[in-house]
């Protein structure tokens, strides 16, 4: 277990290094960070001073070492937009994104298991076909559009819920639903197909033959075997939510998390803040990946031997 974990962590370090290299190439060699961050009317002296401030007047290998150091310390300097350490902003916004992810994806996960199992009990039946149809619709709807529709219906028309922002606990309902619905659709399909596969296995018949109650055969014996692909997808959904959907959902609902901040950083051409966000979230994703690997070995102890 320890050796396995060490190997996964080493892989995580490689991933982060690869990303560092890519970001360095894109920002320093393909694009010009000074041109992005300074206004067009900046004088040559201002440009030179700014380059010096960022250390861009040095040779490329030295710049790269600098950059690797920044990544290792997870410190890229002060935000150009808010004039304070960029990491301070990141840690201020991050909890809100995590909160949204936990509520949204958690909702999707707990709904997907009963729905998927019910659909899997009679494949091709009316319940199954309805579930599949709604799942298909669920992951065909663009997320930003779903969010806007929910705002129009529940906030503008019926005045049941606030349109956007944070404050009261009701503020999280609409963004969480928007975040969770596509994930729910994919998870239901996964639970369903994994359960159909398992329920066709011999051990299920054996279980019934031995007189084990129905709910135990389905809920314990089959479910445990079907769990592996479901947990894999769950991990991916969490990663996608933190590092992808958050940008869209938070923009729609003006939820001041890390995704909205990333978009604002792009609008205000604050490359330092953007890099801080990308690397923080990137490291989080790598950690989630390692966590998932650990969960696998708990679900399926055979994996430990390999």
């Amino acid at each position: 277990m320890g050796r396995y974990l060490l190997k996964r962590m080493w892989h995580g370090v490689i991933v982060i290094f690869g990303v560092t290299l890519l970001v360095f190439v894109v920002t320093r060699l393909v694009g010009d960070p000074v041109k992005v961050m300074l206004p067009l009317e900046a004088t040559l002296e201002q440009r030179a001073a700014f380059e010096k401030q960022l250390g861009l007047d040095r040779s490329i290998p030295l710049q790269f070492l600098d950059f690797v150091g920044d990544v290792a310390h997870l410190d890229f300097g002060d935000s150009l937009w808010q004039h304070r350490p960029a990491m301070e902003i990141v840690f201020e916004k991050l909890p809100l994104t995590i909160q949204l992810t936990i509520v949204g994806i958690g909702l999707a996960f707990f709904l997907s298991i009963p729905l998927g199992i019910i659909a899997a009990l009679r494949p091709g039946g009316i319940v199954d076909r309805t579930t599949v149809f709604f799942s298909l619709i669920g992951f065909s709807i663009p997320q930003f559009w779903l969010g806007l529709l929910l705002i129009v219906i529940f906030a503008v028309k019926f005045h049941w819920l606030p349109t956007s922002g944070i404050g009261t606990p009701t503020h999280i309902i609409l963004p969480a639903i928007t975040m969770g619905l596509p994930a729910l659709a994919r998870l239901v399909m996964m639970v369903r197909s994994a359960m159909i596969d398992e329920l066709n296995q011999q051990y299920v018949k054996t279980g019934y033959a031995k007189g084990i109650p129905f709910w135990r055969v389905v809920g314990v014996h089959a479910m445990r075997n079907a769990a592996l692909p479901v947990v894999t997808l769950l991990g991916w959904e969490v990663i996608r939510a933190v590092a992808g959907y958050s940008v869209v959902v938070e923009t729609v609902f003006a939820w001041p998390g890390i995704g909205l901040t990333a978009i604002q950083a792009i609008e205000r051409e604050d490359l330092i803040l953007l890099q801080s966000i990308v690397f923080t979230v990137g490291i989080m994703v790598v950690l989630i990946n390692i966590l998932m690997d650990m969960v696998y070995t708990i679900i399926d102890p055979r994996l430990k031997l390999q």
């Binding site: 892989h11 149809f133 790598v286």
Partner: protein, 329 residues
């Protein structure tokens, strides 16, 4: 002369075979109503994209400030001149939706082509060469898969600046790994089969083995994957355009139009709704086709479906017999 008729016959025969194959496929499609709906919808979309200048009632970027924010025709103030209403600059929403299909389909096709080609080539290389090539390619894929693509896309788009080309590049960069993995896995399993070994023993060069003996076996899973990816890319392009990081005005894109309509959401619901419905229908149609394709390309599923159909037919027949008997009595 005789030769010519023979050739004609041969060509005709082949043509007929092909037609027959198409007909069989059509019949199978007709049986699966959801897949049929998907194919029809995609046909309509393709027609919309190709014939946009012919069928769009107005130019998508012509402004008419006197006719701003007109509602669709079925609302109280709607007119037939603007069937789906107009936006805040008086541009015709229906025309913009029609032209928007061009961007979605273009970006989708381009990304599937670029990412698919690159992924398949890398997968073939890794799977066929094996050894060090394989481990390098796989490590590259693992590294890229482990890091969320959107984050990198944000940095790239921020530095290089958004445009249709950047969107295609960014989405291709993020999407090639699935094809690579699938191709490599399939190559590894096909390589062990007797017919590939036979081809190698007969002296086929690597290129011939790959393209004549291995690649044809990958066509149907790769096609299904490409269609699924297409759906994902249409959504991704719309999301990027919505965030202002994709297609830039004055060009039209469904995602961009939703973003524009957002500011007038409370007064003019159709501005957000119409392009959104267009995206949803497109993605739904592609997903329907993909799930149908998965069904017909999987022998096990086909068998199940065949069994199901036979039962239904038998049941129907017996019911008919019973009712006939009842009528006779």
């Amino acid at each position: 002369m005789a030769e010519a008729t023979n050739i004609e016959k041969m060509l005709g025969g082949r043509w007929l075979d092909w037609l027959q194959g198409l007909r069989n496929l059509g019949q199978e499609l007709w049986r699966d109503k959801t897949g049929f709906t998907g194919v029809v919808l995609i046909g309509v979309l393709l027609f919309m994209a190709v014939a946009a200048p012919l069928i769009a009632p107005h130019d998508p970027s012509t402004q008419d400030l006197r006719a701003r924010l007109r509602p669709p025709v079925w609302e109280e103030k709607g007119t037939w001149k603007h069937v789906l209403g107009t936006d805040h600059l008086g541009r015709d929403v229906l025309s913009r939706v029609i032209y928007g299909s061009r961007v979605s389909l273009l970006v989708g096709t381009a990304v599937v082509f670029v990412a698919g080609t690159f992924g398949v080539v890398m997968g073939l290389l890794a799977g066929y060469r094996g050894g060090r090539t394989d481990s390098y390619v796989m490590r590259w894929i693992d590294t890229q898969v482990a890091f969320p693509g959107l984050l990198l896309a944000l940095i790239i788009l921020a530095v290089i600046g958004p445009s249709m080309i950047t969107v295609i590049i960014v989405l291709s960069l993020n999407g090639w790994m699935v094809y690579g993995r699938m191709t490599r896995g399939a190559v590894l399993s096909v390589r062990q089969t007797p017919y590939v070994e036979a081809a190698e023993i007969l002296g086929c060069k690597g290129k011939r083995v790959i393209f004549r003996h291995i690649l044809p076996n990958l066509t149907s899973p790769l096609l299904t994957l490409a269609i699924l990816e297409f759906a994902r890319i249409v959504l991704a392009e719309a999301a990027l355009s919505f965030l202002g990081l994709g297609i830039q005005p004055p060009a039209t894109s469904w995602g961009l139009d939703v973003a524009n309509g957002k500011n007038y959401m409370f007064r003019a619901w159709w501005l957000v709704t119409m392009p959104g419905i267009a995206i949803a229908i497109t993605v739904l149609a592609i997903n329907l086709v993909a799930s149908w394709m998965r069904l017909i390309s999987d022998p096990q599923e086909r068998e199940k479906q065949f069994a199901r159909q036979t039962t239904v037919r038998r049941r129907r027949q017996s019911r008919r017999l019973v009712s006939r008997e009842e009528a006779g009595v």
